[in-house]
């Protein structure tokens, strides 16, 4: 199963420090992630999962390499646009360990915030948000505050927020870390469904081995910062 390329990295490198203090965190990562698939990003703590996620998310500058998001080359040893936030706004959705919803906005407002800030008409943004909330089976909580929802419900709202701007890519940073096993499976199944139905590439950082079988491929950061992608759980 290979759809359209959502993310392509070529010899992506990230070093921290200088000279004898130089730390090679990501050392020449080359991979392709396709739309419609869920890829689990795994590695021991401190191996560079978050660093790689931040580079793909256009939050952290790589040291060198090339990167494409969809058909657009965004990095060629330097960002090809000054406004990386615009890339995030248009192409990427984020899901975090905790839901990190804006506490002073209600559920619907949390989902419509980014579309409205992007200039989308309020009526259209509300309609799309309600569709997403219905899709995630949480539409009845649209006017509630996040403090009134359970952890699982809030995480579903966070997923709706990540989808609100029709992104090509969703980057999820341990989205099941705060959930119990049952809810973790539920969330990963939901992500898989979204990836297929919305044709979105999802990279999810995880330590939770229970959710790995639900992912299409596994991306592992090896020792010395090399990145290995496989469909075979056994080789990892």
């Amino acid at each position: 199963m290979q759809g359209q390329v959502a993310i392509k990295a070529q010899n992506l490198v990230k070093y921290f420090g200088k000279d004898e203090n130089l730390v090679k965190v990501i050392d020449g990562a080359s991979f392709e992630i396709y739309k419609g698939e869920v890829v689990a990003l795994i590695a021991p703590s401190g191996a560079g999962k978050t660093t790689l996620l931040m580079m793909i998310g256009c939050v952290l500058d790589p040291t060198s390499g090339k990167m494409w998001l969809g058909e657009d080359m965004v990095y060629d040893n330097r960002w090809l646009t000054r406004d990386t936030r615009k890339i995030r706004r248009q192409k990427i959705g984020f899901i975090f360990q905790a839901h990190y919803l804006i506490p002073f906005l209600n559920i619907l407002e949390n989902v419509t915030l980014l579309p409205l800030a992007s200039g989308i008409d309020e009526k259209i943004a509300n309609q799309k948000a309600m569709e997403l909330l219905s899709y995630l089976d949480i539409a009845d909580k649209a006017k509630s505050m996040s403090s009134q929802l359970s952890g699982g419900q809030n995480q579903r709202v966070a997923i709706a927020r990540a989808l609100a701007n029709n992104p090509q890519i969703i980057l999820a940073d341990e989205p099941t870390a705060a959930l119990d096993a049952k809810r973790s499976i539920s969330v990963i199944e939901m992500l898989k469904k979204i990836a297929k139905e919305q044709n979105v590439a999802i990279i999810t950082v995880t330590h939770d081995e229970r959710i790995l079988p639900y992912c299409d491929r596994i991306m592992k950061i090896q020792n010395r910062g090399t990145v290995f992608v496989s469909t075979d759980l056994a080789v990892l």
Binding site: R85, K86, R88, F94, E122, A162, E174, A177
Partner: protein, 381 residues
């Protein structure tokens, strides 16, 4: 677009209102302080307005009784009529005295005037109870702030005075209440020594000739005559200092109130600075509390302008609400101040402008924090 500032304020409404009330009290005190200064300006001119004199003739090389000691002979009021254009002329005295009331003393300024004269310092509009002075001796008109009532008796010097009239808001430039008495009584109080002292002075060969002195002569000028020219003539021929009404007001408002103006101005400026710093710290704290949300907003792609707008709007709303509370607060408490406080709409609008400017300045510290917020901090817990 969702108004993030309003949403955030609604989310923590009680905290916002209490904070705005606290800052509002500071603004209220600022308004009161400006009001005290305005009150001083009004008080400084009460007597001038009530007397309606065109000229003040005082001891040579002095600024007159409001600024320094001045003594002139009472008969100068009659001599002045020799000068062409003088319409009315009266002698007047001013002195600080203490009215004994039970176990305390009340400081007032006593105005002595010729009760049969052509210029009466008691403004009928201020006379709330009783009457003006009709007897040459032992009658006094007091202001209601002194706490005395009609027919009360007050011992001053050797004599007992009966309160025959009560005025309202008759105050001197110092803010002390004005009391009125006949010129003879006032002269006696100011210039007549005790019997023992008179005997002592006579033994030393000193004549007690000061009893027919007054502090100033006030005069009005007939229509069509040049007040400045008459003032020059009096200076030249009578060897006195002469001030027109305008000059006397300048002495009162500029020379005497100026120092208070500077002092109150300084306090006001400091209070506004303190308020600005407090607003800045509150906004800084409010921004700190939202740093995770701000990092998330930046990470998901919200522009800095949207987030900065939220901070600036919150600061401005805090300033505006604090200003409104300040206004309410100042109007609730202004009457309990011993000094006359005048709250003017113009001053409130001026403060409103200052509040808006200081709010915008205060928001810079929050904006700086927003600009420095790292979107990467939202990832990785």
């Amino acid at each position: 677009m969702i108004n993030l500032a309003i949403k955030d304020i609604k989310h923590s409404l009680v905290k916002f209102v209490v904070t705005a009330m606290g800052v509002g009290m500071l603004f209220g005190i600022v308004l009161i302080m400006i009001g005290v200064y305005r009150g001083m300006q009004v008080e400084a001119e009460v007597l001038l307005n009530d007397l309606k004199a065109d000229l003040w003739i005082v001891q040579e090389d002095t600024l007159g009784p409001f600024a320094e000691s001045s003594r002139v002979h009472r008969d100068l009021k009659d001599i002045l009529f020799a000068i062409n254009g003088i319409d009315k002329s009266e002698a007047i005295t001013f002195q600080n005295i203490q009215l004994p009331k039970k176990d305390k003393k009340i400081r007032v300024v006593a105005v002595g005037y010729d009760i049969y004269g052509a210029i009466n310092p008691i403004n009928p509009e201020r006379l709330m109870q009783g009457r003006e002075i009709k007897s040459d001796h032992y009658e006094i008109v007091v202001d209601d702030k002194t706490g005395f009532g009609l027919n009360d008796e007050i011992k001053l010097g050797r004599n007992i005075y009966k309160v025959v009239g009560i005025t309202h808001k008759a105050v001197s430039n110092s803010g002390d209440s004005l009391v009125f008495m006949s010129l003879k009584d006032a002269q006696e109080l100011q210039f007549l020594y005790s019997n023992k002292e008179i005997q002592n002075n006579e033994a030393r060969g000193i004549k007690n000739s000061e009893s027919d002195m007054v502090n100033a002569i006030i005069a009005t000028v007939k229509k069509g005559y040049d007040i400045d020219k008459i003032a020059k003539d009096i200076k030249k021929w009578q060897h006195k200092s002469v001030y027109t009404d305008g000059e006397q007001r300048e002495i009162l408002t500029k020379n005497l109130v100026e120092k208070s103006q500077k002092q109150i101005g300084l306090f006001t400026a400091i209070l506004i600075m303190v308020s600005t710093i407090i607003i800045a710290l509150i906004i800084y704290t409010m921004t700190l509390e939202k740093m995770k949300s701000i990092a998330i907003m930046k990470l998901i792609g919200l522009s800095n302008i949207v987030i900065i707008k939220m901070v600036v709007e919150e600061t401005l709303l805090l300033g505006v609400f604090a200003f409104l509370f300040g206004n309410i607060f100042s109007h609730l408490i202004y009457d309990i101040f011993p000094k006359f406080v005048v709250l003017l709409i113009g001053d409130a609008w001026m403060l409103f402008g200052v509040v808006l400017i200081s709010s915008v300045l205060s928001s810079f510290i929050g904006i700086n924090k927003v600009l420095k917020a790292d979107p990467a901090s939202a990832i990785g817990g």
